[in-house]
C-alpha cells in the first residue's frame, strides 16, 4: 500500500457507534490521522474531497434508497471495503425490525469487523494490518473460548441465556467477565454449534422461542440460514 493510503469513513443508517469507536481512540487518533490521507469523514470533518479510495470503512445498515446510493458509490471508488459494526455486517437491530439489510446483500464486502460497537483493539489491529499492506486476520473463535481462557464462571451452566458459544469473539468476553450474559451483540461466530447450545439452553428450561428470539436480536440473518437447526 502507498505511504499514505486514502481512507474514507462512512455511516449509513446507524447509531454512529462504530465511527465513534474510532474517534474514541484518543491516544492513537492523531497518529492515525498522520499515517493516512483522510478523504472523507463527514461526522468529524467538513471539506471532504472524496475521490478514489484505498480503504473505505462503512458503518450501518442499508435502510433507504440514499443508503444504497452511498454504498454503491463508495464501493465503486474503493479498493477495499470494510464493514464495521454488527449493523453493517449482519443488519443488526434494523434487520430485526425488517427495515435494514447488511452491506453484503448489496455489494462485495472485503472484510468485516463485527461488534455493537466494534472493539477498539480489533479496529486498531485492522488499521495496522492495512497500513502494512495486509488484510486483517479474521477471528474464528466464539466469545465462549475467550471466557473460558479468562476462567469466568459459566453463566450458561448457571442457567442464563448466554449467547457466548455462538457469538463471534474479539471482545475478550467483555460481558460474562462482568457477570452479565452475552447478548450476542457481535453477531454469529464462524461455524457455531447451534444444536449443542440449544440443547444446553433447553436443559435449563428455556423454550426454543426464547432462545431464538435472543439470538435473532443482533444477527437474525445468520440464524435464518440455519433456522431449522436453531429451531
Amino acid at each position: 500500500m502507498k505511504a499514505k493510503p486514502r481512507i474514507g469513513i462512512y455511516g449509513l443508517t446507524s447509531c454512529a457507534g462504530d465511527q465513534l469507536v474510532l474517534v474514541n481512540c484518543e491516544d492513537e487518533l492523531l497518529t492515525i490521522l498522520e499515517a493516512v490521507d483522510l478523504r472523507s469523514f463527514v461526522m468529524a470533518h467538513s471539506d471532504n474531497p472524496e475521490g478514489e479510495l484505498d480503504v473505505a470503512f462503512v458503518e450501518g445498515a442499508v435502510t433507504q434508497e440514499s443508503d444504497l446510493e452511498t454504498l454503491k458509490d463508495v464501493r465503486s471508488r474503493a479498493q477495499i471495503l470494510i464493514a464495521i459494526g454488527t449493523c453493517a455486517v449482519w443488519g443488526g437491530i434494523p434487520y430485526l425490525s425488517g427495515m435494514g439489510t447488511p452491506l453484503s446483500d448489496h455489494v462485495q464486502v472485503d472484510y468485516a469487523i463485527p461488534g455493537c460497537p466494534i472493539e477498539k483493539t480489533q479496529l486498531l489491529k485492522a488499521i495496522a494490518s492495512l497500513l502494512r499492506g495486509d488484510l486483517p486476520l479474521s477471528l474464528p473463535h466464539p466469545v465462549c473460548l475467550e471466557c473460558t481462557i479468562r476462567e469466568n464462571n459459566c453463566l450458561l451452566q448457571a442457567g442464563e441465556i448466554c449467547c457466548g458459544p455462538l457469538t463471534a469473539g474479539g471482545c475478550n468476553a467483555r460481558c460474562p467477565s462482568l457477570n452479565r450474559a452475552c447478548f450476542g451483540c457481535r453477531g454469529a461466530s464462524h461455524d457455531p454449534n447451534y444444536v449443542s447450545a440449544r440443547q444446553i439452553l433447553e436443559k435449563h428450561g428455556f423454550s426454543v422461542n426464547e432462545v431464538r428470539q435472543r439470538l435473532a436480536l443482533f444477527s437474525g440473518k445468520a440464524y435464518e440460514k440455519e433456522g431449522t437447526q436453531v429451531g
Binding site: G11, A16, E26, S46, L217
Partner: protein, 435 residues
C-alpha cells in the same frame, strides 16, 4: 428568491440537510430535514421481554447511549416496581457524568471549536493547536474511562442491570479514575480562559423558550420529576404527553415539538438558563468567565454552556469518587424482580437535552407500548426558528457566509440525528399508541 441548501451537514452525528429560502432580507422558509433512515426501535421492542429493553433501546444512539440505557432501566424499574438502592443511583449518576464529559468534550473540541478557530475539523486544528487538542482528547478519554469502569463499555453499557450492576468497581480503580478526573479539571482552567477569549457571532433574536427537568434536590443535575419551561410552565414528567405537542413533519424523518405552537430549546443552554444559579465551585466560575448572557437570545451560546457543564461534570464526578473512597461500596444482592404489568415514564437530562422514555408491560413483562422522545427531535422547531433569526440578521451576507453561519448554528445544537428519527414511521403506520 435565494435558496441556500446544505445537503449533508458535517460534524454532526447522523444525516441532516438544511434548506433556507431568502427573499431579499427576509427569511421566507427554513426546513431542517433529518433524513437518517428509520430504524423502528419502538416497533422492535413491542412484545419483547422487559429484560431486553435497555440493550435494544440504547442502540438508538452511540454518543448518548449511556443515557438511553440508564433511562430505560429506570423506566422499567418504575413500571415493575423494582427498588433501586441509593448506591446504584450514585453510580448511575457517575456513569451519566462520564457520558457528559465524553459527549460535551467531543462536541465542544472536535465538532464546534473548529468553527470558532476557522478549521475544517480537529485534524487540521491539531496542526496549529496541538496542546489544546491533546488536552481535549485526554478529557474525552477520561469521560470514556468513567463509562468503561461503571458501564463496562464506553458505548452501549453492559454492566448496568435492574437495581444494580454486574460488577462493582474496586477502590483502586476509583482512586485511579479520580486522579484522571482531577487532571482534567486542572486542564479545563486554561481551556476556559482560551474559550472566554473567543467571540460568538451575535444576531437579533427573541428570548428563547427553554425546557429542562428540574434537578432533584438543591443542586445542579440531570435527574428529576418535573418538566420546567422558562416562561413558568411546569408539569410532572408522567404528564409529558400534554406538557408539549408533537406533530409529524412533511419533510423530515423526525417529529416537531412545540408548546402552544411555540418552539422551545433543550440542552446545555436550557439547563444553564433555568438552573445555572445552582452551580457552585469552578463551574460557577466558568459560567461567569464565559459570560453567557442569561436569559439567552442566541442559541450559538449552547457551545459555551456545554463548557460550563463539562467543568460541572468533572467536579461532581470527583465528588462522587471521594464519597465512594470514603464510604466504600457494598456488594448488595440484586433486587428480586416480580414480573407484573405496569407502566413507567422517566425523563432525564442528556448532553443534548431532555430524553423521555415510556414503556408499558403486560402480566408477563412483555412490552405493549413504547414511546421515546429524544432531545434532537425536541430541538428541531427551535433550530428552524433560530435559523430564521440568524438569517434575518445577516441577510446582506454572501451565500457562502450565510451557509457557514447556518451550518454553525445547527451544529451549536449538537444534533444527534440518529436519535431523532426512530419514531415517525411507527406512528404513521398506527402500530401502537402509548395510552
Amino acid at each position: 428568491m435565494a435558496r441556500i441548501h446544505i445537503d449533508h451537514i458535517s460534524r454532526v452525528e447522523g444525516h441532516g440537510a438544511l434548506t433556507v429560502e431568502l427573499d431579499g432580507n427576509t427569511v421566507r422558509d427554513v426546513k431542517l430535514n433529518l433524513f437518517e433512515g428509520m430504524r423502528g426501535f419502538e416497533r422492535v421492542v413491542l412484545g419483547r421481554p422487559f429484560t431486553e429493553i435497555p440493550a435494544i433501546i440504547c442502540r438508538i444512539c452511540a454518543i448518548c447511549s449511556a443515557g438511553h440505557a440508564i433511562t430505560a432501566h429506570m423506566a422499567v424499574e418504575k413500571a415493575l416496581g423494582i427498588p433501586v438502592p441509593a448506591q446504584t443511583e450514585l453510580l448511575r449518576e457517575l456513569a451519566f457524568l462520564g457520558m457528559f464529559i465524553e459527549s460535551h468534550s467531543l462536541h465542544v473540541f472536535a465538532l464546534a471549536l473548529p468553527d470558532y478557530l476557522g478549521y475544517a475539523g480537529i485534524a487540521d486544528m491539531a496542526q496549529d493547536h496541538k496542546e489544546v487538542v491533546t488536552k481535549a482528547l485526554q478529557i474525552k478519554k477520561t469521560g470514556n474511562a468513567v463509562q468503561e469502569l461503571i458501564g463496562g463499555r464506553a458505548i452501549h453499557h453492559v454492566n448496568t442491570t435492574f437495581g444494580g450492576f454486574g460488577k462493582l468497581p474496586s477502590q483502586s480503580e476509583v482512586r485511579e479514575l479520580r486522579a484522571q478526573l482531577a487532571n482534567c479539571l486542572t486542564d479545563m482552567d486554561g481551556i476556559v480562559e482560551l474559550l472566554a477569549g473567543l467571540s460568538t457571532p451575535d444576531y437579533a433574536g427573541e428570548e428563547i423558550l427553554f425546557m429542562a427537568i428540574r434537578p432533584a434536590g438543591d443542586g445542579y443535575g440531570f435527574f428529576g420529576d418535573t418538566i420546567v419551561f422558562s416562561d413558568g410552565r411546569e408539569a410532572p414528567v408522567d404528564q409529558y404527553k400534554t406538557a408539549f405537542q408533537e406533530t409529524e413533519s412533511q419533510y423530515s424523518n423526525a417529529k416537531r415539538s412545540t408548546v402552544d405552537g411555540l418552539p422551545f430549546m433543550v440542552g446545555a443552554l436550557a439547563r444553564i438558563n433555568l438552573f445555572g444559579d445552582r452551580l457552585t465551585g469552578k463551574a460557577a466560575e466558568a459560567l461567569a468567565k464565559l459570560q453567557i448572557p442569561v436569559p439567552s437570545k442566541n442559541a450559538l451560546y449552547n457551545n459555551l454552556a456545554q463548557v460550563v457543564e463539562l467543568v460541572y461534570a468533572l467536579e461532581r464526578a470527583i465528588e462522587i469518587c471521594d464519597q465512594i473512597l470514603a464510604e466504600g461500596l457494598k456488594a448488595e444482592p440484586l433486587p428480586e424482580v416480580i414480573v407484573r404489568s405496569g407502566q413507567g415514564t422517566v425523563a432525564t437530562e442528556l448532553p443534548r437535552g431532555t430524553l423521555y422514555h415510556s414503556f408499558s408491560f403486560d402480566d408477563n413483562g412483555l412490552v405493549t407500548a413504547a414511546d421515546v422522545i429524544t432531545p434532537t427531535a425536541l430541538n428541531q422547531a427551535s433550530v428552524e426558528q433560530e435559523i430564521t433569526n440568524l438569517g434575518t440578521s445577516y441577510a446582506g451576507q454572501t451565500e457562502d457566509e450565510l451557509q457557514f453561519l447556518f451550518e454553525r448554528l445547527v451544529r451549536a445544537y449538537d444534533p444527534c440525528i440518529s436519535c431523532s428519527v426512530h419514531i415517525v414511521q411507527v406512528k404513521a403506520e398506527g402500530r401502537h399508541t402509548i395510552d
